[in-house]
Subunit: 453 residues, 2 copies
Amino acid sequence: MWIDGTATTLLEKIHQQVLSAELVEEYLAWIAQTEPIVQAWEYLDPDHVRHQAKQIDNQYAIDRIKRPLQGIPIAIKDIFATTDMPTSWGTPIQAGKWFNVDATVVSRLRQAGAILFGKTVTTEYATAKAGKTKNPHQPQHSPGGSSSGSAAAVAAGMVPLAIGSQTMGSVIRPAAYCGVIGFKPSFGLIPRTGAMSASRELDHVGCFARSIADIDLLCSVLAGPDECDPDCIDRWNTTQFTQPTDSDRPNKFISIRTPFWNQIEPEYQGRFMQCISQLQAEGLSVEAIELPAAFEQFQHHATVLMATGLAFHHGADYDRYSDQFSPKLAQLIEQGRSFSALDYAAARQAAIDYNAFLTHLLTDDTAILTPATTGTAPFGLENTGSPLFCALWTFCGLPAISLPIGKASNGLPLAIQMVSRRMGDRQLLHQAKRAMQVLNQHWGTIEIASILP
Amino acid sequence: MWIDGTATTLLEKIHQQVLSAELVEEYLAWIAQTEPIVQAWEYLDPDHVRHQAKQIDNQYAIDRIKRPLQGIPIAIKDIFATTDMPTSWGTPIQAGKWFNVDATVVSRLRQAGAILFGKTVTTEYATAKAGKTKNPHQPQHSPGGSSSGSAAAVAAGMVPLAIGSQTMGSVIRPAAYCGVIGFKPSFGLIPRTGAMSASRELDHVGCFARSIADIDLLCSVLAGPDECDPDCIDRWNTTQFTQPTDSDRPNKFISIRTPFWNQIEPEYQGRFMQCISQLQAEGLSVEAIELPAAFEQFQHHATVLMATGLAFHHGADYDRYSDQFSPKLAQLIEQGRSFSALDYAAARQAAIDYNAFLTHLLTDDTAILTPATTGTAPFGLENTGSPLFCALWTFCGLPAISLPIGKASNGLPLAIQMVSRRMGDRQLLHQAKRAMQVLNQHWGTIEIASILP
């Protein structure tokens, strides 16, 4: 029963009378049942979870301070440094590292009273070879990557909240495949200090939940300036998420099918267009537009930034342990080493140019509706899917959210992606909430995957 | 008499009774006398100046709104786009361009009621070959570059205020050579939209004045977020400069002689050390430290960013008109084309690493005291001097100010540089004011150069 709850509903109970020590037992029991199938965790020590819960209960008994995530179970993608759990970055080369400083987001979660259940499976260096995690809806299918375990853990009800990261499509895509909400805020809103780096320009912290209120709650804890992340200085007004929403603002949408529309599974194409019609039928304004041709270069530019970043940050590992690199990652590193400084400068400029166009398009809090993926989760675990529909928004640093829109005929979740102007995160969540009210009527609310046989 | 005034003192008069139409005549007359010697201007049309003054007077007669720079003459480095004056970037290749949108800073100056006197001489693409401008203190010497005309115009009393730009040392150095105050704020505080780009990571807008109050006044107009400069989004609290200063804060200083101390002229070495002693004698705390060895790589990293930026932004000009490029600039462009994306990523990372060290050093609003130049302005106009003592702070994006400390035995100005923590601009101005109170007792206040024979 508790497992069904969102963080927001759990928090009410915890702040009233329920002890988190009791709550975590429920979750641990459920994880014990489901983990053999889902394989979401890279590291989870039940005793350490119990220890945290006891500490939080004791603290609350003394100070009666209602912390914003008090007693709430959360999963941490295994690229964030933790002082009390090992960190492995999805590679045997770095497996089992112990950091002596928490990642900034980890530290903020602890201060907010969250219970860090464990570290979730990531693909190799959050980039390439898939981990062991299975899609909770159909274990023969991929959960998506790279935040595979975080998305699957939330979808399976093992935790109400999880944090992940997105360099191309690593939050939006697994969220879509697993049928949960995935949110990648504006570039610079959540500090990356202590997270494994793939690309300074593209790396974003993101989060997973089963309600927009939970996303809101989690972001209000995670966001805020950090002197150690130079791209996160002064960017953030921490009251952004917690201010009352301005419900008088119009809900204006733009649908963008992108130049890759024909790479989408026909059933998903149909569902996407149905969603547009459903929103319009409720009186919401949805205008279709096409992106200028210049946008077609974004894949090249994003690859320059990502491959160079990987070569820069992980080239030393590659030189020493290339036999333990997947061919895909090895190729990216070689590619990163081949790019020129001018390629790099051009990529950074392209993000400015794209944003100049998008800023005009997204005034007045208009939100983009666009596909999240090419379709449902791929069969087999090797292929974690394509980031084709996510990478442009990551490249531009815009806030993006993946919203479930029911299942396809194969029983796997489908999702629609919403994108907003830079720093328009709060309004995006507001718009997403409005859209979900409409779409849920047709496609149902988010439910925990039926994992157990 | 008016020519002696600072913007702050002039503003009082203008807001009381003086018409800017009268004021500009005084300035135009003075410019007519001094410009044949100083050669600060690339473009100056007296009638256009009079026209602006008339408009501002008329507007004030109607609305009685006291604008923050109402009627104040200002010079604009000729790399900022202006719709009513040509822009040439210091090169015949781009000479006489007319833009149809003002640079953001130009637009803010107009809105603030400033009178844009004209465009001042810059070195070639704000980088290489010197322009025609002479040092107002001794016309056989360089005014420094690249903001040559802006610094010289303020030093000569042709205007109380000027804007320039700094990619390596192009504000601090000419300010030091010309005996005026030059201020380069924190990276991201003043938008660069509409300014010629040399390097996205290094380009800063800066300003020149003859009092710290004027620098404060000018920055309060120039600073503020700009959607079109992605490095300037949300960085700025516009009340920063205009808030009352917190005079209770301690004035703590650190002196850094840098690894290049032995490249400094002995007389300037002595003056620098005297200034330290004078501050200490007044009870101010000055502690000497040395930078870690890793900082010695900054020149390489800064060169990667600058040369790549120049190649990226101006490579097309170079390919078409290489015969009109100076050998120095041609070499920089070739060099920029030779760097790898990994060089670029490493340079960006170095700025993070250096800042991690400096952030700890500069807590509690400590300010660095460090040389501004290698000595007084070089003889001859070809050599605009070395940016050796400026480029590190530019590279790190820290606010830096050049403060005159009298003249050397050769009659040319000397200066000390103060640097503060990132975004500590306001406190830096506060500290600079305190230091100037002490140093002025020994070296005199800033006076207009005695140009006329």
